[in-house]
Amino acid sequence: MIEQGKILLNEKVGRDIWRMELKCPWIAMKAKPGQFVNVKLNDVAEPLLRRPISLHGIDAENGIISLLYLVVGRGTEMMTKLENGDSVDLLGPLGKGFSTFFHGRRAVIVAGGIGSAPFYPLMEELKAKQKNITMIYGARDAESLTCLDLYEEQGAEMILVTEDGSVGEKGFVTGPLDCLLAERGADFVYACGPEAMLKAVEEVAANHGVQGEVSTEARMGCGLGVCLSCSKKGKDGKNRKVCQDGPVFPMGVMAYE
């Protein structure tokens, strides 16, 4: 579905990180945690392609979605220039999101940097199912950790990690994850972040015999499953389309080549 999202809010919330709220009732009604929208920033050829951005907020009741985005290049830079009332062409909701049907109650969420984006709607769903949530949230520095209040509102226990030690533990998310799984165990682990992190998180979870899901990235042409730009190899040697079969995959599926 293509919907013109009307911008209600577009503000800087961290180091090069912005949060945008858009009125788009149809997508808000259909979307599931972990899905994404493909954003077209103008109606001309420059820049050509849509930008895939995860849904950071899904408010079906009020017809509002939010996006949390890191400014890395031309497209995301253009997004920062948009103002309240401007329209954005959104294609979505796309892809397969997270599942919340695991046995037990203890969910651990591992987020690396802007990989935190898809987890707010997931938390809402987990909370509604009376799951206990621990979020291990790592980033470069304190300023790159954003929206902490939102996650705390959902009752998540927060474990913060920074590479420079400016807040929380110094280091990477896998350290605290390993400790947590050793000390308290967990029923399911969700992860989103750089590929190297996902690979490491999968190893730690597997070592503790815990299952989970990862949200992955790929450069996309279409986002619709037709171009095969996003096709990545799984451990079984078969290819998977990140845009359609993912972006969320069970742990143990992707090969991370």
Binding site: L48, R219, G221, G223, L224, V226, L228, S229, S231
Partner: protein, 305 residues
């Protein structure tokens, strides 16, 4: 009922309107049913298929460039047998003609794929990709050599009774020479153009962006080149042409018709607006009405000499 006739005939491929989909940019069509009424398309041209399954090229497989994109998919596909068994019957339910794009690692392969598809009544025509710039073994070499293009056309024709449309590579000095060779080989039509070979470099890593180093350029950036080639070939070779390259709105499609294309394909444009094909059909019809034509065939090649 529309007031104007949109039907065209591309070398025996009968289309109810001149709009089809560029191979590899529309999947099998089934992925697009939320956005496109497949039964309204002049034809559905599906992703390239090969004798054996192909895993495709390493990531990354696409890169954005000014007004265009590079791709190096590497013809990933499950192989013609799986396509015929699993996908073809489902696409056929929509009732539009199906054009199957075929590729091979050598000329013999093309013949074998054509022979397998010959048995399928749901296949309306074969589009022969001799130009895919991604696959090291075949594509590039075949499409740039007129003798090999002629031989490929002959081999495919020998294995099928369906219309054979040769999809040419733009990565040549003299497109007319290649088009003539295709005609000599028995081609019923031509598709112009496939991607232009290009590359992009990441200045941070100082390495090529694409895992395959080079890839095919598509999108609005290539439209002037595509239009020029359609025009040149239309003027010099008596074969119907499916024109494509950078079509992003109906006006672009009309340009191709005026340059001499009998039909047009929408490719990368589908990524920007998944229902673009529908808008192009409506736009062409509106253009004909506004300009007092009652048959789309009346405007084909008007810009040509």
């Amino acid at each position: 009922m529309s007031k104007v006739s949109l039907a065209v005939d591309v070398g025996g491929l009968k289309m109810k309107n001149p709009v089809t989909t560029a191979s590899g940019t529309f999947g099998s069509g089934l992925e697009m049913v939320e956005y496109v009424d497949l039964s309204r398309l002049g034809a559905v041209t599906v992703k390239g298929t090969t004798l054996e399954p192909r895993p495709g090229n390493p990531q990354p497989r696409c890169a954005e460039t000014p007004a265009g994109m590079l791709n190096s998919i590497g013809l990933e596909n499950p192989g013609v047998e799986v396509f015929v068994a699993e996908t073809l019957p489902k696409v056929a339910e929509y009732g539009s003609p199906i054009v199957v794009n075929i590729a091979g690692k050598d000329i013999e392969d093309y013949g074998k794929v054509a022979a397998i598809l010959e048995k399928e009544s749901a296949v309306s025509a074969l589009e022969v990709n001799v130009s895919c710039p991604n696959v090291k073994n075949g594509g590039m070499a075949l499409g740039t050599n007129p003798d090999l293009v002629r031989e490929t056309a002959e081999t495919v024709k020998a294995n099928t009774t369906k219309p054979v449309i040769m999809k040419l590579s733009p990565n040549v000095t003299d497109i007319v020479a290649v088009a003539k060779a295709a005609k000599e080989g028995g081609a019923d039509g031509l598709t112009l153009i496939n991607c232009l070979l290009g590359m992009a470099i990441d200045i941070k890593t100082k390495k090529p962006i694409l895992g395959n180093v080079v890839g095919g350029l598509s999108g609005p950036a290539i439209k002037p080149v595509a239009l020029r080639m359609v025009y040149q070939v239309h003027n010099a070779v008596d074969l119907p042409i499916i024109g494509l390259g950078g079509i992003a709105c109906w006006q672009d499609a009309v340009e191709f018709l005026l340059a001499g294309a009998t039909a047009v394909s929408v490719g990368t444009g589908n990524f920007l607006d998944p229902s673009l094909t529908m808008k192009v059909i409506d736009g062409i019809e509106g253009y004909l009405i506004d300009n007092g034509y009652d048959d789309v065939n009346d405007i084909i090649g008007l810009a040509a000499k």
